[in-house]
Amino acid sequence: MRLQLTGRSVLLAIAVAGSAPPARADDRIDLTTTWYLERRRGPEGGLSVVHPQLDFEVDAGDSVTIGAGYSADVVSGATASVFSVDAVASATPFDDVRHESHASITLKGSRSSLTVGGGAAAERDYTSINLAVAGKVDLPGKNTTLGLSYTHNFDHVCDRDNGMAVALERRALTGLETCKVSSVLVIDDTPGSTIWHDLDIETAQATLTQNLSPTLALQTSLFGQVLRGFQANPYRRVRVAGVEPQESLPDVRGRVALMVQANKFLPGLRSAVHGSVRGYSDTWGVNSLALEMAYSQYAGDALLLRLRGRIYQQTEANFFKDAFFYDTEGPAGAFFTGDRELAPIRNVLAGGRLSYIGFNEEGGTIWGVFDEVRLDLKGDLLLLDELPANPDSLNPAGIDSQFLSSGQLLDAFVLQLALHTAF
């Protein structure tokens, strides 16, 4: 569960670092609430995440912008505590609340900007502090923009105190133990019960954006990340050769991704076509490709409709096995996992967003003090297809029951409501 925060805090740090204000001359406030609902098999029901976000950004003089924000995750639902051929048998209810805050300051020149930011996040078994720096420069002619960013996360993960136990003897957290967090900065071990592990995450990214013609823009991004430290889910157990130890993962993971995006404006239709492709590879053996297409269409002066579709497929991690094979053959070296994100999967997304955009063409205000108001309503449907990691013909248990999300066509949807204001 806490790994959601890992990804979230890194993504937020990148977003903060990369948010050197583009063409916004106005102060702004953005408020967004996202509701994610995933179907899961068994009597405990599905998984629900409510994710509010609030950010503001104000100019302090001509060359300084200050930003700050807060977000939260309110999570409740079912999770399988043991990765085995029957996930429903170990399904248990859980709930959690995460809080995250961040701040940044941006120095702007005529063609460049430098942003320095940081953030902190906490939940009952995970804490995170990140520092980020990003720079962006428009090359002469202002048709080419080069951006660089670097983020360092200083994270801590609560775990069962397993002393010197080897992988197959390690016990998982049950949720009844106390992980002492007096603040984001202060954590304490409870000898014999719980301890805190370090997890350091370094993330770097280079982005090149190029105007290719008056109606075509292209962006290329190269992303690299190294994670060092405890990366397993401390609550998850895996049924391995008849016993159920805590999941065991390598301590180091290197990741790289290359993404190319293009936007094409169609003046005759007052619309735009968007396309992107991303390749990804990491040292755990996960390789993936994601393709996305979208179409934006203006309707009148105030409405903007966007439709999009995305397909994604990945290979499994080198040490991932279907549950039946962990149980009958044992681990893959020293490692074993029940993480769906490390399994071979295919993901499909389809959705749309309707935006109302209000602004005063005369240059005055609208809705009181605001220069511009945008209201977004967005919905996405997600389909997840889990694929076999080992030969089907040798697996009498099959893979249709090893995850709570297995064997469903439509498995999740996302509903989002957002209000963006500039003043």
Partner: protein
């Protein structure tokens, strides 16, 4: 074993990066300021909505093993 196969994939990605960055930089350089009306449109901005992008990444990175690469926003008219 992981790092060795990762290195070979890194080489493929490095070549891909060079090609992609070269392609990005090899467009028509002289898009004049007077021609940037459409490039300045909100639909032409990469990562125009940071909240939406962050929420999307939040959802997808918890369903998929991959993450990253979305870029750092900007683009479009380059007129800031």
């Amino acid at each position: 074993m992981g790092w060795r196969s990762f290195s070979s994939r890194m080489r493929v990605l490095a070549v891909g990066s060079i090609v992609a960055f070269a392609a990005a930089g090899c467009g028509r350089h002289a898009v004049r300021a007077s021609e940037k009306e459409h490039l300045a449109d909100r639909t032409m901005r990469f990562d125009a909505d940071e909240h939406e992008s962050a929420a999307d990444d939040h959802v997808l990175s918890n369903r998929e093993g991959a993450s990253g690469g979305r870029g750092t926003g900007g683009g479009g008219c380059g007129c800031n």
